[in-house]
């Protein structure tokens, strides 16, 4: 029979006791969190199709597509967790408001979370942990970001004056408050993603790292080209048919250039690192850096029992995760090198090596981020001095890297990238396991502003 009652999102499995996790390295009393599937809207370059779409509209659309795909209308989900990096102050309950505008049960709790570009993955880690502990049976993780509809703030001087005026009790006091406003205070403040402690943009930070590791322009363009080619092939093969729901007439990621080439990429002028001291040459272009993008993504996670009760498919397990941070302010590590530190710790805890993975999903903030990450893991000195390893962590098989493209081609709406990557990785390992009859594994690595990084292991079930 098909129809089912909207269920209690927090009820335990039929047996009453959570099933033991399949992962032998999982702590006692912890069960599996499985990935049922995902849904996102196509990503769009800033100022294009989603120019006047708000974060709430985009996240609601991503949620609605997920609800439709899995028939979750009226369902009380255990928790919906997500966030946005660029956020209006009015969006203090962004995720809960999106849930209220969706077809999910209005009794579905939700909260906002933010960890820069790692927001989406951190949301999934949070949801998975609640499921693993038996606190919830189901959860949706995701994120949304719009650069097109970013908040614009007033200057500090005008803000102070407005607040003083609102606190003033007399007309005279109010006028006095406004008298302090200077013409320069009327200039609006547009959001900046520059690092607050260094004043450098992320690109300039990465340019320093790129130069330090001697990553060539050609190598970066190669990564960019592969990203576009892989993503285009995945779209053509229908890989995203059950991962993406169109929004506002956009049916594919519009940053994707299926026809780009080494020659075209080579023609672009460098945009970051132009102020670097000789002999470093600027190598980072608009082609091998991610563009500003709008979009939203969601992933449905659950206990195995919850999914089974609803006849829902299960793609993979979110096995474990590790976050890290680097001291890019006073130390000598690059801003986006935190995942380099997180992964060895994650692998050690789970008794895994790089060779144990079928897929590597390394977020392409910049082509050079991927390349410096790979180089660092192969560098004996770095691994010893910075990561405390006796030997290099190892090499990543490039044939297994971002096989269906990543952020360089798809674009990177900050908080939405984690959901995109997680759903892609889950589908990849499920397909691989079905094809080979053996378990398949993916490693996810996402760098973030503030010297942050989040990483995770996904395994077929």
């Amino acid at each position: 029979m098909a129809t089912r009652k909207p269920s209690d999102g927090s009820s335990r499995s039929a047996s009453g006791t959570p099933a033991r996790a399949a992962n032998p390295h999982a702590p006692a009393g912890v069960r599996d969190a499985v990935i049922v599937g995902g849904n996102r809207i196509p990503f769009s370059r800033a100022g294009r199709k989603y120019a006047d779409a708000s974060n709430q509209e985009m996240f609601t659309a991503a949620l609605e597509g997920l609800v439709a795909r899995f028939g979750l209308q009226g369902e009380r989900i255990g928790e919906v967790v997500g966030g946005a990096v660029l956020k209006h102050s009015r969006d203090f309950n962004l995720i809960r408001e999106s849930v209220l505008g969706s077809s999910l049960s209005p009794q579905t709790p939700a909260f906002d979370l933010q960890q820069a570009c790692a927001t989406g993955l951190e949301a999934a880690i949070t949801v998975a942990n609640k499921i693993r502990l038996g606190q919830i049976e189901s959860g949706i993780a995701g994120g949304t970001d719009t650069v097109s509809d970013a908040p614009v703030a007033v200057s500090e001087g005008l803000r102070r004056a407005l607040l003083d005026a609102s606190h003033a009790k007399t007309l005279q006091a109010r006028l006095k408050a406004f008298a302090k406003v200077r013409p320069s205070d009327l200039k609006p403040l547009t959001p900046a993603t520059d690092e607050p402690r260094t004043g450098l943009s992320m690109g300039e930070h990465q340019a320093i790292t790129t130069a330090r590791w001697g990553i060539s322009r050609a190598a970066q363009d190669e990564v960019a080209l592969a990203s576009h080619q892989h993503l285009a092939a995945a779209w053509d093969a229908g890989f995203f048919d059950d991962l993406v729901t169109p929004f506002r007439g956009l049916t594919r990621d519009d940053n994707l250039r299926a026809d780009t080439s080494t020659e075209k990429l080579a023609k672009l002028k460098p945009v970051f690192g132009r102020g670097l001291a000789e002999p470093a040459e600027p190598t980072m272009t608009a082609g091998n850096s991610t563009p500003l993008t709008d979009g939203a993504s969601t992933v449905l996670l659950a206990s195995a029992a919850w999914a089974a009760e609803r006849d829902l498919p299960v793609l993979a397990r979110l096995v474990d995760a590790e976050t890290a941070a680097v001291d890019f302010v006073h130390g000598h590590d690059g801003l986006l090198m935190a995942p380099v530190h997180a992964v060895p710790r994650l692998l050690a805890r789970n008794g895994l090596a790089l060779d144990d993975f079928d897929f590597f999903e390394i977020h392409e903030a910049f082509a050079s981020t991927v390349l410096t990450t790979l180089a660092a893991w192969e560098d004996a000195d770095y691994c010893k001095a910075e990561l405390g390893l006796d030997a290099p962590l190892g090499s990543v098989d490039r044939e297994r890297l971002n096989v269906n493209g990543s952020s360089l081609a798809a674009g990177h709406p900050f908080a939405a990238t984690g959901g995109r990557i997680l759903a892609t990785a889950a589908k990849l390992v499920a397909a691989k396991a079905a094809e080979t009859g053996k378990p398949a594994r993916a490693l996810i690595s996402i760098c973030a502003a503030g010297g942050l990084g989040a990483t995770a292991v996904v395994e077929s079930v």
Binding site: M1, A2, E64, A68, D242, T245, P246, D311, L312
Partner: protein, 447 residues
């Protein structure tokens, strides 16, 4: 999508004006709403002498439905429906009194009233006089339907293969024709045979517990079909091409179903539909082939892509999906395909579309015995002018002419097509197989 003319001639000053000027005044059709009475007034049951026994049987069934059933034509009421029973007629001369009794109450037939004939199909081996009487009903009903006014319709049930007058599918068809569900079905004679099926426990939820798939469900008629199937109790799998996913999600969420983004022309579309329905919902009971495209062009200007894409989506996809579903041994499958009056009467600029839709009628008839071997049916619905986004894009004058060229003088709604589909998909309609039901307000072209 609104028919402002019909609105204008039915309200306020413009109504008075239209009356005075003698302008055609298409009626506001009564559509199904749960809880509304089945008919708009009492039902008169008349029959020729030989068919009186069948008329009594039917009158009892109607009483069981809570209807006010009468056997004498009187002029003290507004009749909701007339049921003309000619099932045992032997000679053309037999029908006279019953037919004239029907005529005597037509002036007092209520707005949105119904006339339904019940007769038997002429069959091989019939005596010439018997065949004449039976086939005569066809011409009689089609003419009568054109005389009816104010939203009233006339439809006929043609019994085949010796089915009893109170056979499950006969009663289900009778109820459909009497009800507001058949608002835009007019002038149609539907052959109905024996069925190994029961009447629904709840007439408002005949599809309770059934899993139905609708292709092209993102918008228009497909979305209406999904909503009507869900209203009548089915769990609906909504299918459309990935590019239409936004509307598809809206439909799926409105009906509490699931969205399956899938191009029906994919080689494995049928298998994927079956897998989705079975793994997610436990079974597959109904498939509605609604997905279709238009690439209108005069044949002299037709490009290969315009011809081929229409045939691929409107025809080949249905064939392949049916082969995969029936080939997988799905039991009791109800297949309903969207044909079109263009496939019956033809339409300038639509050689490709007309070919595909006439092809649908062809494969429906051919698939019917195959489906029946697995306890299922294959039928088609042929919509006439339906008010959709698609027809709204037709230039004004052409659109006005097209929408008035039928007995009801107006276009139908997507929901009207959906009602006919739900009727054919319902378990009690098992005795209707290999048929094409037109939902066209008795369009002046074609049968």
């Amino acid at each position: 999508m609104t028919d402002s003319y019909t609105k204008a001639v039915n309200s306020g000053f413009t109504k008075t004006l239209a009356k005075k000027l003698g302008l055609p005044r298409p009626a506001i059709l009564r559509r199904f709403r749960a809880g509304d009475p089945l008919t708009v007034g009492p039902v008169l049951v008349v029959a020729d002498d030989a068919s009186m026994g069948d008329a009594d049987t039917l009158a009892k069934e109607l009483l069981g439905w809570g209807l006010d059933v009468r056997r004498q034509p009187t002029d003290d009421t507004r009749w909701g429906a007339v049921l003309l029973v000619l099932t045992e007629t032997k000679r053309p001369t037999d029908v006279s009194s019953a037919v004239l009794a029907t005529g005597s109450v037509l002036r007092r037939l209520a707005t949105n009233g119904r006339v339904v004939t019940l007769s038997r199909a002429a069959a091989d081996g019939d005596a010439p006089a018997l065949a004449a009487a039976r086939n005569g009903v066809d011409g009689f009903l089609r003419s009568l339907a054109k005389e009816l006014r104010a939203g009233a319709t006339g439809n006929g049930i043609v019994l085949t293969d010796g089915v009893a007058v109170n056979g499950t599918s006969v009663l289900a068809t009778l109820r459909f024709f009497l009800s507001a569900r058949s608002a835009y079905v007019d002038g149609q004679l539907l052959p109905v045979g024996p069925a190994d099926a029961d009447l629904p426990a709840d007439w408002d939820r005949p599809l309770a517990g059934k899993v139905a798939v609708v292709t092209g469900a993102a918008r228009g008629i497909g979305a209406a079909i999904a909503k009507t199937l869900a209203r009548d109790g089915a769990t609906v799998v909504c299918v459309d091409v990935p590019a239409a996913g936004e509307g598809l999600a809206r439909t799926a969420n409105a009906v509490g179903g699931t969205a399956l983004q899938l191009d029906v022309t994919a080689d494995d579309a049928g298998r994927r539909i079956l897998e989705h329905a079975r793994t997610r919902h436990g079974s597959l009971d109904v498939v509605v082939h609604n997905a279709g495209i238009l690439r209108d062009k005069l044949l002299a200007n037709m490009k290969p892509a315009q011809w081929d894409s229409v045939v691929a989506v409107n025809l080949e996809a249905q064939l392949r999906i049916n082969e995969q579903l029936l080939g997988s041994g799905v039991e009791g499958l109800r297949i309903v395909s969207l044909a079109s009056t263009s496939g019956i009467a033809g339409n300038k600029g639509q050689t490709n579309y007309g070919f595909s839709k006439a092809g649908v009628i062809g494969h429906t008839r051919a698939t019917a015995p195959w489906a029946a071997a697995h306890g299922g049916t294959a039928n088609a619905v042929a919509p006439g002018f339906i008010e959709t986004e698609m027809t709204a894009s037709i230039p004004f004058a052409t659109r006005e002419v097209a929408r008035r060229l039928n007995s009801l003088q107006q276009g139908g709604r997507p929901a009207d097509v959906a009602e006919a589909i739900v009727f054919l998909a319902s378990p009690a309609s098992a005795g209707v197989n290999g048929q094409v039901l037109r939902v066209c307000g008795q369009n002046l072209v074609g049968r």
